[in-house]
Amino acid sequence: MLNVAGLFTEYPNPQGEVVKAAQDVTFTVEEGHLFTLLGPSGCGKTTTLRSIAGLERPKAGEISVNGRVVYSSAKGVFIAPNRRGFGMVFQSYAIWPHMNVFQNTAFPLEVGDRHFSRTQIRDNVMRVLAAVQLDHLADREATMLSGGQQQRLALARALVMEPALLLLDEPLSNLDAKLREKMRFELKRLQRELKITTVYVTHDQSEALALSHQIAVMNEGRIQQIGKPRDVYERPANRFVADFVGNTNFIEGTLHAIGPGFHLTVRTEIGDIKISTDLPVSAGDRVTMSVRPEDVALSDTRPQGENVWEGRVEQKVFLGEAIDFRVTVGPRELLSRQHPALRTPVGGPIFVQLDPEKCVLLKVV
């Protein structure tokens, strides 16, 4: 549906130097899917989104929606943002303070290429306001809305012209934590109901994991990995993705032996670790593994199975629904997230076990 191919962007910063933003960004979004660009600030995700919107002109590449080319450096095509017919929700919501809720929502229908009668505008606006549960506030001044209401109004305004594509630029980042969580569900429900193709930009990994059909993790202008939320989290492609999407323990070592069925042994500073992988590797390679804190199992008694070591509790942080342990195994410190039921005291001995399936071998870059 949306095709972005070989996108390069750059812009001058206030000092006049050229900053390279997106570098060779390529991805496809299927009809009705929510696709997330995830990455730290300055990774090029917003520039990519703004290039799709037409608010920024890329240096090279091609962008097409349903086969309609909206930008192509090769063909010299650049369609102005107001002719693309995409809806967009901005980080600041960009609610016009001099208009009320109804006027804000009606604006796209009044200024676009298609002409609507007054009753059509009324019907469309009220329908979309009802969808975001703002219909009872249609006459309210836009500046009198709460943060969550403003967010929904921005969404209504983006949806009212039934856009081919919905672009969301960190739409939840201006809300407080509780409201953010609520709006996350709301947004997901609305997107799934309307089945509108959406590109979502965020730096919040939990938001990305919660909402997306597909996630593209970006860093320094390049896409690091594209995949389903579970894939990105459980099988990160490289060190950056593993680190950025959730917390993790990195363990370095040397590939020691390759057994049958991709079963490998890695020699590390805490000892030999048995793992499995489908990456093409050979004995003697230097490798890095990523183990999520929740996959570092702890117990007071020695458990059955492989990859078991004895360690010592260094520090505990109580988080309410979980408890974070810092445990030393030999010279290494590992982070482990446990159910608060585990009450081993600081300084006490503890057993550490790593599931071979959960020790993810990272691509050697």
Binding site: P81, S92, Y93, A94, W96, F107, T143, A154, M161
Partner: protein, 557 residues
């Protein structure tokens, strides 16, 4: 539309400067001798010791007036912002009134107050103290500095009030905690921290004083004290007029103002070292003056009397006389409405007022609309070289009113497109002169409009024109309105530019006042002046009221 605005701006701002320089190198053109290149104007202007004196007088006048205005304004601002002087909120509101009184009327009223022959203050003091001669002579350099400095002290007051308000009061409080007394804090901390604002304020006042025309013309010329502005006026108004010589003077004046304006802009762009803004909403602790607060309140009252009450009272008095007479019991019996009858039967009065209204409303509207587009380009786009446009549109700010009038006169005398002597040349002059102010007002507002408000309109399918009309202009309204009011007020009082450009058909109110002065019709002038001040006052009040209504609504945004 963007293109039209850019071309218009460049045309209107660059033409006068170019022509002024060109003209300063030309001989006078007569019927049979065409103008040729010459350096004679510069030799005539700068080849004599008179010029050195002219330069020296101008500097002394401008320096004196600016330092006087600054000292007065700063003391008042400090008292108003940092002490518990009674009634100060009233005073802040009143401090804006003097800005409404046109310079020419302020000067005239001070002549009536302090001239050696008829000045009321002089006569009263002579009577009380039994003096032989008048204690004050307004027709002197000191008198000029007094009147000009006094008239512009509210400007210093406003600028310094803003500087004091921007300062983090905890910096002062920590000095108090270290054991400093009120004056040590004021001198060693407050004033030092506002140093960039202090220098900028003095520079602004200096530039303004050196551009001042009314005071030197009315007070200086009768006793032969000439400064650049009055010298330019003299050169144009003698017969045969020596435009080339005036241009050569004007170039020197332009150099001085350019250096001043450039220094101010440099100063404000690197003021960050003294970053006094913290954004914390602290209310400054107010110094308790104890019984001294009645003394400071008295200073406020005396100041207000000197700057508003006495000048207005003397005009009011004189406007009810048949011939000007000093207040006395017998003069009181001769009160008459004749001057007002004269004013209302003045030929072309209706037309004059209509011209003033048309010119001020028209140029305010055009200035604000054109600069809103210019300002959008400068603030919102990334077009290369947009700073050049900003500088070009700000260029007229270095032109003293008289010099601008001169350049425009010279240009349209040489390039005959049929505007010379019509109201259009006045429009061009006013728009040129006040464009930089419009730009400043719009820029302040434009910077506050979030980029995404505009981008979301584009994403909604709106074209640039629609976005500008339906999003930018409404959001710009507070700045547009404030700028419009400002430009309207300053253009309705405008004298120094108009004085070289008007014709009998295009007279404006300030010109009529000037002519009445030249003819010695003081009582008629007073009547017109009283009406003018009252009208301006009402106009400002109405504008403020409208502005507040919109302002409040926008503030919620």
């Amino acid at each position: 539309m963007i293109g039209v605005c850019v071309v218009f701006t460049v045309y209107i701002a660059v033409i006068p400067l170019g022509f002024l320089l060109w003209q300063s190198f030309r001989t006078p053109q007569t019927a049979d001798v065409p103008a040729i290149f010459t350096l004679e104007n510069y030799i005539a202007a700068y080849g004599t010791a008179d010029t050195l004196r002219l330069f020296w007088t101008s500097i002394r006048f401008a320096f004196g007036a600016s330092v006087f205005a600054f000292t007065l304004g700063t003391v008042l601002a400090w008292m108003n912002e940092r002490t518990n002087t009674p009634f100060k909120s009233v005073f802040y509101a009143l401090s804006l009134i003097p800005l409404v009184i046109p310079s020419i009327l302020f000067t005239v009223s001070w002549i009536l107050l302090a001239s050696p022959q008829i000045g009321i203050i002089n006569l009263v003091l002579q009577g009380w103290l039994g003096l032989e001669t008048a204690p004050f002579d307004i027709y002197s350099l000191g008198g000029m500095i007094w009147v000009d400095g006094l008239h512009y002290s509210p400007m210093a007051f406003l600028l310094m009030t803003a500087a004091f308000r921007a300062m983090d009061p905890s910096l002062e409080e920590s000095a108090t905690m270290s054991g400093a007394n009120i004056f040590q804090v004021a001198w060693r901390v407050t004033l030092r921290l506002t140093w960039p604002a202090v220098v900028a304020t003095i520079l602004i006042l200096f530039v303004r004083a050196i551009e001042s025309f009314e005071v030197p013309a009315l007070l200086g010329l009768p006793v032969g004290i000439e400064v650049f502005t009055s010298a330019i006026y003299q050169a144009v108004h003698r017969y045969p007029s020596r435009v080339g010589l005036a241009s050569a003077y004007a170039v020197a004046l332009l150099l001085i103002t350019t250096i001043g304006v450039y220094s101010v802009s440099r100063l404000s762009s690197r003021g960050s070292k003294y970053a006094t803004m913290t954004g914390k909403g602290f209310r400054p602790r107010q110094i308790d003056l104890g019984p001294w607060r009645w003394f400071t309140a008295a200073i406020f009252i005396v100041y207000f009397a000197l700057i508003v009450l006495l000048p207005f009272a003397v005009l009011l008095w004189s406007s009810f006389q048949r011939f000007y007479a000093v207040p006395s019991m017998e003069a009181l019996q001769n009160l008459t409405l004749d001057p007002y009858r004269f004013v209302f039967s003045y030929p072309n009065l209706g037309r004059t007022v209509w011209n003033s209204v048309l010119l001020s409303f028209g140029s305010a509207t055009i200035v604000m609309l054109v600069t809103s587009v210019i300002c959008w380009i400068v603030v919102k786009t990334k077009i290369r070289g947009r700073w050049i446009l900003d500088n070009i549109a700000s260029l007229p700010i270095v032109f003293p009113g008289l010099v601008l009038g001169l350049s425009i006169m010279v240009f349209y005398l040489n390039v005959d497109i049929g505007v010379y002597g019509t109201i259009w040349i006045m429009y061009i002059a006013y728009i040129t002169r006040f464009m930089p102010y419009g730009l400043r007002y719009n820029t302040t507002s434009m910077l506050q409009i979030h980029q995404e408000l505009e981008e979301s309109a584009a994403m909604s399918g709106a074209s640039w024109g629609t976005t500008f009309r339906r999003i930018i202009l409404p959001l710009l309204k507070p700045g547009l309105l404030a700028g419009w009011i400002y430009v309207m007020i300053v253009s309705i009082r405008e004298l120094s530019t108009s004085i070289l450009l008007y014709s009998p058909d295009t007279q404006v109110i300030s010109i009529v006042i000037w002519e009445l002065w030249e003819n010695g019709q003081y009582v008629e002038l007073s009547a017109l002046g009283v009406l003018f001040i009252l009208a301006l006052f009402v106009l400002v009040m109405v504008a403020q009221l409208i502005g507040r209504q919109y302002g409040v609504k926008e503030q919620r945004a």
